[in-house]
């Protein structure tokens, strides 16, 4: 990758950011909205600078909840998908339950979750976990079931055990879809953590969600800064997952090749 090519990626992106900031500033100055509805980019920036330590601290707390929730989802979602892939009757019985996770109105359930789990990072992690679990289960299950017919027959001919089939055939084949599932889940895990913090946070350890919840009443520029940072946190989590995911895929590809 040469410099010219890099610039080809970076310049359009930078241009878009600049245009966007200009548009934002223009809208602010032409609309006459007060700061509590629409603060200008400069105001939000200085709110960020003024409160950077608090924002960083909150971001760290939200990041912990989100990454904890996502890790649980990866572990539990992957194992669930393996169980699902083993028999049709398991899927028929339990798949609808997994769909519930996707459709449950988490905002309504969060206050109930607090009744079971104590407020704090465990509760916010749990909500992040629930929100990010389904994409992993559904993608991985699909990947595990989508086995090449010829290879399946080959495994059958050689009387491979169920475990050998799973470990040597299904799991390697499902890796790309598993990674896709985790990528989708990564953004959602941050969303889940922020929503969780609305209801289940301790105020001594305020994540971004709780900050946003309070700041709407008295410091909207600071709130905007928190919302933007929460958005970036989602992108960051996605990026980290993508980097790791791509590496894992590369590793599995090589392994597949060496096995042939």
């Amino acid at each position: 990758m040469n410099l010219k090519k890099n610039a080809g990626y970076v310049l359009p992106a930078l241009g878009a950011v600049v245009l966007l900031l200009l548009g934002w500033a223009l809208l602010k100055s032409s609309s006459g909205y007060p700061d509590y509805i629409l603060p200008g980019p400069g105001t939000v920036w200085s709110a960020f600078v003024d409160h950077r330590m608090e924002i960083l601290r909150s971001t760290w707390i939200t990041f912990l909840s989100a990454s904890g929730g996502l890790s649980l989802s990866v572990l539990f979602g992957g194992l669930t998908a393996i169980v699902f892939s083993q028999a049709k009757w398991i899927r028929r019985g339990l798949y609808p339950l997994a769909i519930f996770l996707q459709t449950v109105p988490i905002v309504a359930v969060a206050p109930i979750i607090v009744l079971w789990l104590e407020e704090g990072i465990v509760a916010t992690m749990f909500i992040s976990f629930i929100v990010s679990l389904f994409p992993i289960i559904t993608n991985t299950t699909a990947g595990l079931l989508n086995v090449d017919n010829g290879r399946y027959e080959l495994f059958r001919l050689y009387r491979a055990s169920r475990f050998q089939r799973l470990y040597r055939l299904q799991i390697p084949g499902a890796m790309p879809q598993f990674v896709t599932g985790v990528k989708i889940a990564s953004g959602m895990s941050v969303l889940g953590a922020v929503v969780g913090e609305f209801f289940c946070a301790t105020l001594q350890n305020k994540g971004l969600g709780r900050q946003i919840f309070e700041l709407k009443d008295y410091n909207v520029p600071w709130m905007y800064a928190c919302i933007l940072i929460a958005t970036f946190l989602g992108v960051l989590t996605f990026s980290i997952v993508s980097l790791i995911g791509d590496r894992v895929l590369l590793y599995w590809d090589e392994k597949k090749i060496s096995n042939i």
Binding site: G234, S242, L243
Partner: protein
């Protein structure tokens, strides 16, 4: 790998852009209201004893006697009353004094014209079994507080909370009812009455006892509206005041209506709430209901500045006016 990274950068920009555009689109319309005597009052919460006088004024016809057709709009957690009034979506709103100051600090041009509660019903509710009787006793409990950061910060500043676990208040009394070591924010005229009827024995610690005492259930309007419609405002304040006088005398009439509108309360709870509200609403001898004292507002400004919730150069200016109260 690098391709992924650079693609990601582009992708982040796209997400950031989309998010910002979405935010920019919020609240893009603003309307101007026709100058009729048909007006709306936006409440800050679901109808209960903190709004009794306004319902009374409507039900007894005090508003219509003044030639006003008033629609009372129920509020809730996301009511955003201050913005609605400031942007001219409704003529009048109900808010507590500190919220009016906090929104003015951020550019809203709103002024309070009437304060239904002289003493704030804001309190912390604990179980009698906890042994806690004063703020100094607060320890070893979990305390749930909502989004209203002002009184929470005031407590953090003035009460030793090192052995108190502060958590989010979801708006439900369920946790309080099942946990004797749980304390929560409340209005003395509402939640303590409700939990008592469900078998709990609550003790209330009034925030006003430690000095945080903003006027509560204030009627406010935008500065522009006050300037352009002084007669309507005068009529509205006069009728509201009559409504509160009637409500404090005999609340049953309005409470029946509010019990229909807000299923969380029933008539008995609302009647008890109104009885608890009466001493908080009655001003000092010789002062009319709804009156406000500049010194009280100044104290509040000082407290909020102390909590770094107002800009250091914030001025009271037109945050409130008693010009529309009937002269006694």
């Amino acid at each position: 790998m690098k391709t992924t990274l650079t693609a990601l950068l582009g992708w982040s920009v796209a997400v950031f852009g989309f998010g910002s555009v979405l935010m920019l689109c919020c609240g893009c319309q603003s309307e101007t209201l026709p100058q009729t005597d048909k007006i709306s009052l936006q409440l800050n919460w679901f109808p209960d004893a903190q709004h009794g006088g306004f319902y009374m004024a409507q039900l007894k016809g005090y508003y219509s006697q003044e030639g006003l057709e008033v629609e009372i709009l129920a509020g809730g957690p996301g009511a955003n009353v201050e913005a609605k009034v400031d942007r001219g979506k409704v003529e009048f709103g109900i808010a507590n004094a500190h919220r009016i100051l906090l929104k003015r600090n951020e550019g809203a041009k709103i002024s309070a014209v009437f304060a239904a509660f002289q003493k704030s019903p804001r309190c912390i509710m604990v179980h009698r079994e906890s042994g806690i009787r004063t703020f100094e006793d607060l320890e070893g409990v979990t305390l749930a507080v909502g989004s209203d950061a002002a009184f929470r910060k005031f407590m953090e500043q003035n009460v030793d909370l090192h052995d108190v676990k502060l958590v989010s208040y979801s708006g439900s009394n369920a946790t309080f009812l099942q946990d004797k070591n749980y304390a929560q924010q409340a209005y003395s005229i509402s939640e303590p009455i409700l939990v008592k009827r469900q078998g709990a024995d609550p003790v209330v610690l009034m925030l006003s006892d430690i000095g945080f005492n903003p006027y509560t259930s204030c009627v406010f309007a935008s500065e522009d509206y006050l300037k352009n419609n002084p007669e309507t405002v005068r009529k509205f304040v006069r009728a509201s005041q009559k409504g509160w006088e009637a409500y404090l005398e005999n609340p049953e009439f309005a409470n029946q209506k509010m019990a229909e509108l807000n299923k969380e309360h029933d008539l008995i709870a609302l009647n008890q709430g109104a009885a608890a509200a009466a001493p908080l609403c009655r001003p000092k001898e010789g002062e009319p209901i709804g009156s406000m004292n500049p010194d009280r507002w100044k104290v509040l400004v000082g407290q909020l500045k102390n909590l770094k919730m107002l800009k250091p150069d914030f001025q009271l200016n037109e945050a409130f006016t008693v010009d529309f109260l009937p002269v006694h």
